[in-house]
């Protein structure tokens, strides 16, 4: 494929049922009313030149290049700001407009470097426009005042701003505001002196979050990726999907070369991407360099004991060792002594094949996935309430939401591209209720202010959501027709929730939310009219995670906020393919499509296809595997793309379990922490080398296309098939698409999915069935998948993990924008510029009590372990709560987290650990008083 240039129609599409017809250059053109003349013309193939306009930004009308003549109108209006009207007659090709455009272009060129590198590279629209307008020769000469001596800002690790090439068209400023919602850029000065500035400082020190929207918007070479400057322009495009978070942004991988010599020049967000519509964040846009990092392991390795040095071995030897090792363990210790963990970072096809290997070749159901430790309560709770283990909406639904309740999620850091959509809607007038112990950015950021911030104490979410429902029921704000028609067990639930113990007044001492604020929040949510719930791991990673998911489902049902756009219960999934890995049967109790292993008719589907007898009993979950390993009955583990020794709670327990096993096989890009305990290392393929699909948080199945061949010589699914085959169960596929064909043939919700269909449609949201051949953006329209929605009496059961005299503080964990989970990828990119280490945020009063100031090294201890971190005094946390991230292995945040877990799914209670903090080494306090606190904003650690 060659380089794809996506068409830019100049102004955004207009949604309007009413069409108008006008004539442009003698041709009749019909468009929705409100469409600009520029867009109408460009859509009809009439190429009006433009500079300041772009179809992802509101029309601005500053460059005057898009002038046209309109019959009966005075002068020559800018077509980008002129709406089409019925019967309008437009001429774009007259001598008058040509002369005007020529003059405008000459002015631009007079201040534009003649030897502009962008021209040479072909990374600039100016050159093409100069030719188009016939202004290639400049009348004004280049002797006058110009900006040709300005110096470039190269502070951002990924892009430069060179004012010499800047034409002050304002596209970057508008992209930063309108698309990204950060408002980091402004125009400084007036007229000829005007320049773009990142808040008066350089880009790196500014509010900029390095999303790249401005770089993409810039029509010249002024804002350019450093990789383009270094490598030159790309020559071909492969459209693929980001492998970081659950937003699942589509990207054009723009590359040079082919085959093994392929080099990625840049990743540019794809305008047709269903999830991101042309936007990106710093991770997907820039942090792909880990795929070619020198730490990447490209050869299989093996060793007899974890105390030995690794030896490089051939693929054949590695696979034989794995297969023979697992067979021997099974022979000696029984069929249940081995198992596998699949990764939510891998493709649906890879994950499906891993569970098939475990079920068909290992002969048991000991398969689990890292979703266990993040969103398993979502699956449990939403399935219980609605009959399907997935979010109810698409991302675009947020554009219809009037009220957003954001609970335990920090979208601007963890789901940045979706956060930009949320902020856009909030700027347009929707209201936000943020329930979070921390004052996250959504509480207050440029042009966005939450209506209410409810600082709910960690561990008390259920009491909070019950109080919301209590107010709605007792104040008569519930949607009685919806509840009566579409839900079951309503009377029992209504009686339960009306109990005075759920009132905001009764629960405020538990939740920390003032009763009046809670009542205001409940009334706002009930008033809607479209109220949507968005939530993250701050909901699931609790001992009552599943109850809370059901509690939020109750709230949505009570207020009738399901089954249409703008509403719903929306999990913001952590990893790129959490949804998909759950869909693909990665849990030990269910086959693909969330069907319990005990159902004979479901087993029969796979037994006849795979030619084996499947076990009807659930297998071990990840924590059960660890417990059984320590107990001696679980002896061998295959781990795909998950660093359990770093990401799972209570590290010393995990390490003891890994040490206890006879065979640990790690299939990964890097020798991670888990690999310290491994006997065989199988090198994995990066997302740039994969062929398959990821399913994002909105159930959208996106294609992942190989940008380059596997650097390790094999696809991951192929390696898994070879292990199974060597174990005596032949498994093979000619290509990844055949795996999806098998998934579609056996899983009803995927019935209509194939690579060919996905390539044709762009992406599809499951269920994709005969009834919904193009997929299902909004679920539960008219009725729930399970029939009636299940209202559940969500009793609040406090966690057993409580602050006490020894451990008087509560630790909660999260992540920041530039880093991703355990950091295996992002730490190996310049993203570490922004977050070189994890810090412990502590409230000023807790800090003062302990003599802690910012920069001190502190010891953080819980009942299970101790680690050291640098302290950062911050009032973003409420008193009594400390906060850290877990992006760096040296931090060992999970050294202190405990074995406590969600009662229903064993999802670890990462969000609540009773801890103590003590100073180990004081930071230099030369000229700082004891209260040398860092201002709250610095805590954001941008990006």
């Amino acid at each position: 494929m060659t380089l794809i240039h996506e068409p830019d129609l100049g102004t955004p599409a207009v949604a309007n049922d009413h069409d108008v017809t006008l004539t442009i250059d003698g041709r009749a053109v019909t468009v929705p009313e409100g469409t600009s003349v520029l867009r109408a013309a460009r859509g009809a193939g009439i190429d009006i030149p433009k500079l300041c306009a772009s179809d992802n930004l509101a029309a601005y009308g500053s460059c005057r290049l898009c002038l046209v003549e309109v019959e009966g109108a005075k002068g020559t209006p800018a077509s980008c700001t002129t709406p089409c009207a019925d019967g309008m007659v437009v001429r774009t090709d007259t001598d008058t407009v040509h002369a005007l455009r020529h003059g405008v272009m000459e002015l631009y060129l007079s201040d534009h470097p003649q030897d502009c590198a962008g021209c040479a590279r072909g990374n600039c629209e100016i050159q093409a426009l100069a030719v188009q307008t016939g202004a290639a020769e400049v009348r004004y000469g280049r002797g006058g005042a110009s900006h040709l001596d300005d110096t470039a800002d190269t502070s951002n690790p990924y892009f430069t701003y060179d004012p010499k090439a800047c034409i002050v068209c304002n596209r970057c400023v508008r992209a930063c505001g309108e698309v990204q919602g950060t408002f980091a850029l402004t125009v400084q000065g007036r007229g000829f002196d005007s320049r773009i500035t990142a808040g008066g400082t350089d880009f790196l020190s500014s509010e900029c979050v390095s999303c790249g929207a401005c770089v993409q918007a810039c029509p010249t070479d002024a804002l350019t990726e450093k990789s383009v400057i270094q490598l030159g322009m790309p020559s071909r495009t492969v459209v693929t999907t980001c492998a970081y978070c659950g937003v699942g942004c589509s990207f054009k991988a723009e590359v040079q070369g082919s085959g093994d010599d392929t080099r990625v020049v840049r990743m540019v967000p794809w305008k047709d991407g269903g999830a991101n519509e042309g936007h990106s964040c710093v991770k997907g846009r820039f942090a792909y360099g880990y795929a070619s990092h020198r730490d990447r392991q490209l050869s299989p390795m093996a060793r007899d004991s974890i105390d030995d040095e690794w030896q490089v071995v051939t693929w054949e030897e590695a696979i034989t060792r794995v297969a023979e090792g697992f067979l021997a363990l099974r022979e000696k210790h029984g069929v249940g002594s081995i198992g596998g963990i699949s990764s939510s970072r891998c493709t649906n096809e890879e994950v499906y094949v891993v569970q098939k290997m475990v079920r068909a070749a290992f002969g048991n159901n000991n398969i689990d996935t890292c979703a266990r430790v993040c969103h398993s309560p979502t699956g449990y709770g939403l399935n219980h309430a609605f009959g399907t283990s997935a979010g109810t909406q698409d991302f675009a639904s947020v554009e219809q939401a009037d009220v957003m309740l954001v609970i335990g999620a920090n979208p601007t850091d963890a789901h940045p591209v979706f956060a930009s959509r949320m902020k856009k809607r909030l700027r347009a007038g929707a209201k936000a209720i943020v329930a979070d112990p921390r004052r996250i950015d959504l509480v207050r950021s440029p042009h966005v202010e939450a209506a209410l911030h409810l600082p709910v104490r960690p561990g008390t979410n259920v009491a909070f959501v019950n109080a919301m429902c209590h107010v709605i029921v007792t104040e008569g704000l519930w949607d009685e027709p919806f509840v009566r028609e579409r839900c079951e067990d309503a009377d029992a639930y209504l009686a339960f929730i009306a109990g005075p113990e759920h009132s905001p007044e009764a629960t405020q001492d538990v939740t920390g939310i003032p009763a009046s604020d809670l009542r205001a929040a409940a009334r706002l949510f009930a008033a809607g009219p479209n109220s949507a719930i968005y939530y993250g791991l701050g909901v699931t990673e609790h001992s009552q995670g599943s109850t809370m998911v059901m509690g939020m489902a109750n709230l949505a049902m009570l207020t009738g906020n399901l089954g249409r756009e703008g509403v719903g219960v929306n999990p913001l999934r952590g990893q790129n393919n959490v949804q998909g890995s759950c869909d693909m049967g990665s849990f030990p109790h269910e086959l693909p499509g969330y069907r319990h292993v005990s159902r004979p008719e479901v087993r029969e589907i796979y037994e006849s296809l795979w030619g084996v007898t499947l076990q009807a009993e659930p297998g071990l979950r990840i924590p059960n595997m660890f417990d059984s390993a320590i107990g001696g009955s679980f002896r061998g583990l295959y781990v795909q793309g998950e660093d359990i020794a770093q990401s799972d709670p209570n590290t010393s327990h995990v390490e003891a379990a890994l040490r206890a096993m006879d065979l640990v096989v790690v299939h990964d890009l890097f020798l991670n922490e888990t690999a310290r305990f491994a006997h065989v290392f199988l090198p994995g393929a990066s997302f740039l080398e994969k062929d398959g699909t990821f399913t994002n948080a909105e159930r959208r199945i996106n294609r992942v296309r190989p940008v380059m061949p596997s650097r390790v010589g094999k696809d991951e699914w192929q390696v898994v098939c070879e292990i199974a085959t060597a174990m005596g169960y032949p498994m093979s596929y000619a290509e990844a698409s055949h795996i999806m064909d098998e998934i579609a043939a056996t899983t009803p919700t995927f019935a209509g999915v194939s690579f060919a269909r996905l390539d044709a449609e762009g992406s599809m949201q499951w269920p994709v069935t005969q009834a919904a051949p193009h997929g299902t953006p909004t679920m539960h329209v008219g009725s729930f998948v399970r029939g009636l929605g299940q209202l559940t009496e969500t009793v609040y059961v406090p966690t057993t993990e409580r602050a006490n005299r020894r451990f008087p503080l509560v630790l909660t964990t999260g992540r920041i924008l530039s880093q991703y989970n355990v950091g295996a990828q992002t730490r190996r990119t310049p993203n570490s510029t922004w977050h070189p280490e994890d810090v412990l945020e502590i409230h000023p009063s807790d800090a003062e009590l302990r003599g802690v100031t910012s920069g001190d090294v502190v010891e953080l201890s819980s009942r299970v372990g101790t680690t050291r971190l640098t302290a950062l005094v911050s009032d973003r946390m409420p008193a009594g709560v400390v906060y850290t991230t877990f992006h760096h292995p040296v931090t060992g945040a999970n050294v202190v987290t405990t074995e406590n877990s969600d009662w229903a799914t064993n999802c670890p209670e990462y969000k609540v650990t009773a801890v103590q903090v003590e100073v180990v080494t004081q930071a230099a306090r030369a000229n700082a008083g004891a209260g040398a606190d860092v201002p709250a904003d610095a805590v954001a650690g941008r990006p």
């Binding site: 249940g336 159901n365 000991n366 398993s376 309560p377 979502t378 699956g379 449990y380 709770g381 939403l382 399935n383 219980h384 009959g387 399907t388 283990s389 001992s543 009552q544 599943s546 109850t547 849990f587 030990p588 109790h589 269910e590 499509g593 969330y594 069907r595 319990h596 005990s598 159902r599 004979p600 009807a616 009993e617 659930p618 297998g619 071990l620 979950r621 924590p623 059960n624 417990d627 059984s628 320590i630 009955s633 209570n650 010393s652 327990h653 003891a656 399970r786 009496e793 009793v795 059961v797 299970v864 405990t898 074995e899 877990s901 009662w903 229903a904 799914t905 064993n906």
Partner: protein
């Protein structure tokens, strides 16, 4: 290191704490169903073995629920719906 309480006891008691509010026999039934649906057989065996040994730390409701469990068999009647989590 791992905590003193065995995992099946901790997990069983988590179920008790979250389901004991259910009326009558329903609590024991729900706990038993949950264990059948999500616990691997060796965990069920361990729980039953503890009861046989006379483990006095077990909550009576968990013991009652375990009365519903039969070693090595799933009550398929209970598990009709898709299962989630």
């Amino acid at each position: 290191m791992s905590t003193a309480e065995p995992a099946v006891v901790r997990m069983g008691h988590d179920l008790v704490r979250h389901l004991e509010h259910l009326p009558g026999d329903q609590a024991a039934m729900e706990i038993a169903t949950h264990i059948k649906k999500f616990w691997e057989p060796r965990m069920r065996h361990e729980l039953l073995a503890r009861i046989r040994w006379g483990d006095t730390t077990l909550h009576p409701l968990l013991v009652a629920a375990a009365g519903d469990l039969v070693d090595g068999e799933v009550d398929r009647g209970e598990i009709k719906e898709p299962s989630g989590g």
